[in-house]
């Protein structure tokens, strides 16, 4: 908008250059190109909706239908008979929960990176950034093994706890005891002992883990939700916009005696609403459209998400194209509606996604 206005203002000031909007051959050509582009953008959607209202045997007719048929309702009923309702619920549940939780987790972490200085900050943030470059297919095999065998997750958790204790010990020593070599040596020995202890305990840990019988997480909601929460991109986005919050505002809260949690909840989050919305929509869309990972972990029909269910319909020996297109249309429609309602957040989320690379 503003660019347009400045353009007009400057043209008014320079009478030598004639910028007056007019219908010459050139602008007609530009409109033709733009409208052709718009047609190509929109037509596949139209075709999808048209075909979703055709009975199955009419979809691949020659010449193809270009106007709506009367089988929309029977296609929907057919889809429901094929377990579509359950998939719709699964998709919606996964997308909503992921979006809420990932906004929460990312805003907490983004706040820590943006507004606190603490030992390890650069290191941890650097690790997050590094991982942005890694294609997510790389994690698929180990993640699948973890979901199939929870003992792996338990083992990782135990290792993390040990590493955390050691790291906290080292940080404590470096920060608090620099002037006393005896204490430093003692602390170092303690951390060393802890590590040796971990090595010695490892066989015991192995036998303990083997004795456990844990349920598998394959075909569960958490198998799809949890990996998506480990999203460095969201943290990066939140950090960027939280840096704009003035420190004085937070300090004012602290002087008034508000706890750190209350400051975060009542001062920081409300000012972040646009970014929260952008990230929330981005996460929702990611999970709603996600195909690769749910295809791998959702192995029971009742737990399939929409894309996986529709893929299963494509795999049938007799493909009901009317139903298939209705399923595709019903999957696309909610995202389109959200897009039309929250255009700005949507585009800013996508543009922020451009930083992701």
């Amino acid at each position: 908008m503003t660019t347009q206005e400045t353009t007009r203002a400057t043209t008014a000031a320079t009478p030598d250059v004639d910028h007056k909007p007019r219908f010459n051959l050139q602008s007609v050509g530009m409109y033709v190109l733009l409208i052709l582009g718009a047609f190509i953008s929109l037509f596949p959607f139209y075709y999808m909706f048209v075909q979703s209202s055709q009975p199955s045997n009419e979809v691949l007719r020659f010449p193809p239908h270009l106007w709506f048929g009367d089988a929309a309702w029977s296609n929907i009923k057919g889809l429901w008979a094929n377990g579509f309702g359950r998939s719709l619920f699964n998709s919606a549940f996964i997308a909503i929960v992921s979006s809420v939780l990932s906004v929460f987790v990312a805003s907490l972490a983004g706040y820590a990176f943006a507004k606190f200085r603490f030992p390890g900050r650069t290191l941890i943030f650097g690790l997050f950034l590094l991982v942005l470059m890694v294609p997510y297919h790389v994690t698929a095999v180990p993640l699948f093994k973890m979901m199939a065998d929870l003992r792996i997750i338990l083992r990782v958790l135990i290792y993390i706890a040990f590493a955390g204790i050691c790291a906290a010990g080292i940080v404590f020593m470096v920060r608090k005891l620099p002037r006393n070599p005896a204490l430093l040596v003692g602390g170092g020995a303690a951390v060393g002992l802890l590590l040796v202890g971990l090595l010695l305990l490892n066989p015991a840990l192995n036998t303990y883990l083997l004795s456990l019988s844990l349920p598998s997480w394959l075909s569960t909601y958490q198998a799809v939700i949890l990996p998506a929460l480990a999203n460095p991109f969201g943290i990066f986005l939140m950090r960027q916009s939280m840096q704009a919050i003035p420190d004085d505002l937070l300090d004012a809260g602290r002087i008034d005696g508000a706890g750190e949690w209350r400051i975060f909840w009542t001062v920081v989050l409300p000012t972040m609403r646009p970014t929260l919305a952008a990230l929330g929509i981005y996460s929702f869309m990611f999970q709603w459209n996600n195909f690769f990972w749910p295809l791998i972990v959702m192995r029971e029909t009742a737990m399939e998400t929409l894309p996986v269910r529709i893929n299963a319909l494509v795999g049938l020996s007799i493909i009901d194209y009317g139903q298939l297109m209705m399923g595709t249309a019903l999957t696309t429609l909610p995202i389109m509606l959200i897009f039309l309602a929250f255009q700005r957040q949507f585009i800013s989320g996508a543009m922020a996604g451009a930083v992701k690379g």
Binding site: Y111, V138, V141, L143, I160
Partner: protein, 299 residues
């Protein structure tokens, strides 16, 4: 309680909390990151260095050796490179043309056009694949109908090696052009109009202005979109999996669909991990190369 006591700040406590607060805020993200990101990335690397036939036999380069001689992997790689070579320049130049057109103040309904062009890029990839599967159907697709009605023969879009690849290019271009256009448009709008006016006074025509003003100033954005599209195309999965089902005879097999097939249909986890790391190396190499080229261009 005594108001005097309340007014005394609990000093030691406060300092402790002040110093540990960021770690509390960071804990959920850090835990999730370590369990579901860092561990799988490391574990995948370790898996790739364990022989597929003898996983407990310690460090081995078997998988990478096998990768070098694997015809199917080479095929997936050439297919993906082919898509890359056609698809990235095509989609980015289309996006640039549309962005330049839309940046023109003469055009009305610019917001509307932008909205329409952006619409495909919010659509699920699997939906794009299925819609194009119908449009491009070998016997009864709409595109072939249009070709027939202007007197051209039908094309077997999804079952011939070349046309199947072109079909993928079409579907991907349709999905992503608007996305890149919005990025270009934002970048175009940050170029001061005075530059164009000065050039116009000097007698530069539209193409001169584009080559000498727009392109140089847009260099960082063009680099960004090139890197993003390259990374995206290298990882392509949904389209070949659904639109062409990797066929005909692996002609549209991509690295990611090969990875899926190896790991989750063939249960060769170690070999699949080696494929994944080959993908990481190639993506990193490409990104580095593109940054180098961009830097050289600047000198």
């Amino acid at each position: 309680m005594d108001p005097e006591v309340l007014n005394q700040p609990p000093r030691r406590d406060w300092r402790f909390w002040r110093q540990t607060t960021p770690y509390f805020f960071l804990t959920p993200a850090l835990l999730l990151f370590m369990i579901f990101m860092a561990y799988p990335i490391i574990s995948s690397l370790l898996l790739s260095f364990q022989s597929q036939n003898n996983p407990t036999g310690g460090f081995s380069l078997d998988n990478y050796q096998r990768l070098l001689g694997d015809r199917t992997f080479r095929k997936a790689l050439t297919n993906t490179f082919f898509l890359l070579a056609i698809q990235v320049p095509l989609q980015l130049s289309l996006a640039m043309v549309l962005a330049v057109l839309l940046n023109n103040a003469v055009i009305k309904f610019r917001g509307g056009f932008r909205l329409i062009y952006f619409l495909p890029s919010i659509t699920a990839l699997f939906a794009v694949a299925l819609i194009f599967k119908l449009l491009l159907n070998d016997e009864k697709g709409l595109i072939n109908y249009v070709l027939n009605s202007i007197g051209l023969p039908s094309i077997r879009w999804l079952t011939e090696p070349w046309t199947a690849k072109l079909s993928l290019v079409m579907a991907i271009t349709w999905r992503w052009t608007g996305y890149n256009m919005v990025i270009y448009l934002a970048s175009l709008q940050s170029i001061p109009t005075e530059l164009y006016e000065a050039a116009e006074l000097d007698g530069a025509n539209g193409i001169d202005r584009f080559v000498n003003i727009t392109l140089p100033l847009m260099r960082p954005t063009i680099l960004l979109t090139t890197v993003l599209s390259t990374i995206g195309t290298m990882q392509i999965f949904d389209e070949p999996f659904l639109l062409t089902r990797n066929g005909p005879s692996n002609e549209t097999l991509s690295v990611a669909t090969l990875l899926y097939r190896t790991a989750f249909q063939g249960a060769e986890f170690n070999y699949a991990s080696a494929i994944a790391y080959a993908m990481v190396l190639i993506i990193a190499g490409f990104s580095l190369l593109q940054f180098r080229i961009a830097q050289r261009g600047e000198d």
